[in-house]
Symmetry: C2
Subunit: 414 residues, 2 copies
Amino acid sequence: MFEIKEELLNEFAILAVEVGVNVQKGQSLLIQAPIEAYKYVRKCVEVAYKKGASKVMVDYVDGERTKLDYIYQNKETLCDIPKWQIEKLKQNIEDGYARLVIIGEDPDLLKGIDKEKVKEARIALLKAKQDYQYYSMNGVGQWAIVAYPNVEWAKKVFPEETADEAMNKLWDAIIKTSRCEIGKTKENWTKHSKEIHDHCDILNKYNFKKLHFKNSLGTDLTVGLVKGHIWSGGSETSTGKFKAEFQANIPTEEVFTMPDRQNIEGRVVTSKPLSYNGNIIQQFSLSFKNGSVVEYDASNNLEVLESILNSDEGSKSLGEVALISHNSPISNSNILFYDTLFDENASCHLALGACYPSTVKGGCEMTKEELLEIGGNDSINHVDFMFGSDDMEIIGETYDGQKIEVFKNGNFVF
Amino acid sequence: MFEIKEELLNEFAILAVEVGVNVQKGQSLLIQAPIEAYKYVRKCVEVAYKKGASKVMVDYVDGERTKLDYIYQNKETLCDIPKWQIEKLKQNIEDGYARLVIIGEDPDLLKGIDKEKVKEARIALLKAKQDYQYYSMNGVGQWAIVAYPNVEWAKKVFPEETADEAMNKLWDAIIKTSRCEIGKTKENWTKHSKEIHDHCDILNKYNFKKLHFKNSLGTDLTVGLVKGHIWSGGSETSTGKFKAEFQANIPTEEVFTMPDRQNIEGRVVTSKPLSYNGNIIQQFSLSFKNGSVVEYDASNNLEVLESILNSDEGSKSLGEVALISHNSPISNSNILFYDTLFDENASCHLALGACYPSTVKGGCEMTKEELLEIGGNDSINHVDFMFGSDDMEIIGETYDGQKIEVFKNGNFVF
């Protein structure tokens, strides 16, 4: 039977709570977790209290139950977000809380469920929470995402294995790509984060006007970068009531910045499937003109892609561009995780939808209108999709017209 | 390994949702459940939706995590009930929701935890919710409680058995005492509820002024009953937005009514341990004068008893008197469940604290002041304790001075 060693579970809790969300003395913490992870959650709660958290709250998510909601509730009920839920979010933000999200569910969970219902419910929830999105997006409060294995997910990743063996393999892959190692986790992350920060420094010095991506899959895309953009990655520091270094994504390999939403031209073809709200799109392509998607196609689930693009105006443009060397641990594992947290870190990626205000100078102090004015993007969505490959070439163009090679054969040249 | 047969789990979900809370078409349902019961919860959710529930919400409780809250949070934080939580309760009540509580936790959960902290946190929560207590207490919305086994609980009840064997035995005991039988559960409950209703009819016709309890354990107690009291038991009908027959306690054997809070004299000695908020009091006694506790003693955990009695004025008097024949399924099982839901139904019991307004004519329409005026009791508490025995004698006295034998050798005489 699949069982995780106590010691490793403890270390993984230290990773999530101390390295990831880095909850501070006197700060409250909300953990969102799949129901099957309750034993791991207890570990995280204890680590958080030992670090001095004032209060730890837990919201459990049960995918199987959510599915029943989608099957049996009508649209009106699904879209009616209770006021207390927004009240709760507001109060937690006033309180300066930190947020830890533990993911891990069946990538095919919502297969066969009415996609229109799912889409409308999702939009209703995002809209209800829209005014509070800044809290995590701007890094006001610390947040982090880690993964915990789930049988259906494990069987999707390792379909040939028994349930127990698949769980063992997935857990092993999570641990390794998350750089979790008994007694060494913190040190691993200090080193890793420094390497990412070094890459950011180089890119920030070049201060590119635009990047040109090209590979044999069919991608031939120019992405303008906003003036004053900042390449970010690795640990960040929260700006709110509690100033603390945190590591939002575990694992992470990316450096990322803010595209100019009106200055994207050409075509991008994805290189990995996108698992979105329980549906998988194997491959899709997007063509941009003046920064907006004008043509699109998908190998399957075209209506899911359409539902993303049609959510709002900002969903048709980009909010993030991220660079990851093809030679990186997740990519080298050759595992397709069917989960963005992992797969986006195996490959260069873009995101449809909202930008991260922290990726432009002064962005966190700008109003929405000011962000739009400088070329940032606003949306209820932020959907990452992967397009990196082993033959990706990236050329950066500076404001004085210099062309600098950034990627060759899928990897950073510096 | 302990595993429950799918078919029985389904039948037990039908018991909770159809017989117990009897959720109505278009009504929302909140399920409160221990985290370990999540597979059972899914069954309940599905039964509820198939019955036409508009929305099913689930609040999970994790005893082990709650314990960490008590260990690490300071009193101030523990007693600070977030506003959104009360907002949620209010919105659910406005919505006319039904509530299903699934219990099942370690009876010794809070052993060794600072009792003062637990008490203050408990009082803060009860006070915050006080204004909404009427919703269930008055039967405005349907509610029900069922039990689901938990390893620590099972090992407490069957300490000689292995964990798996103890779980099997506890589950078996829950199923049997809950009259759950594949394909026959609904029929069993229709019959059982009729028998209880018949007992109520007889007692209501006698319209006793007071009851006198006496046995060899040392109980010698006279409990006055309020004028216009109603003996209740078995199924009830909710009075709010949705009028529906519901079965609040599963299992249940009791008929119960409202004592006159100023007219209780003598001494009562408990016959079964009281498991209260994770602490067990083996035995205690209370002496009443003019309806109020004037002396008390306990074999252990005296401070737990004191914390109950000192919660507020109403905690020193009674809100319920309940009669159960010693010859009843739970009593005959000879199992001490260390849980009030079961143990109170093995034995005559009383409750310290709030009365049920529905147990007096017009009670549900009375203000708190009016209820107090007629002899009802008000409190943030409602704590049942058991005092029945195989030699319990009960004599009822009518308003015209007749003395009628109600119990002989522990059982109803009619």
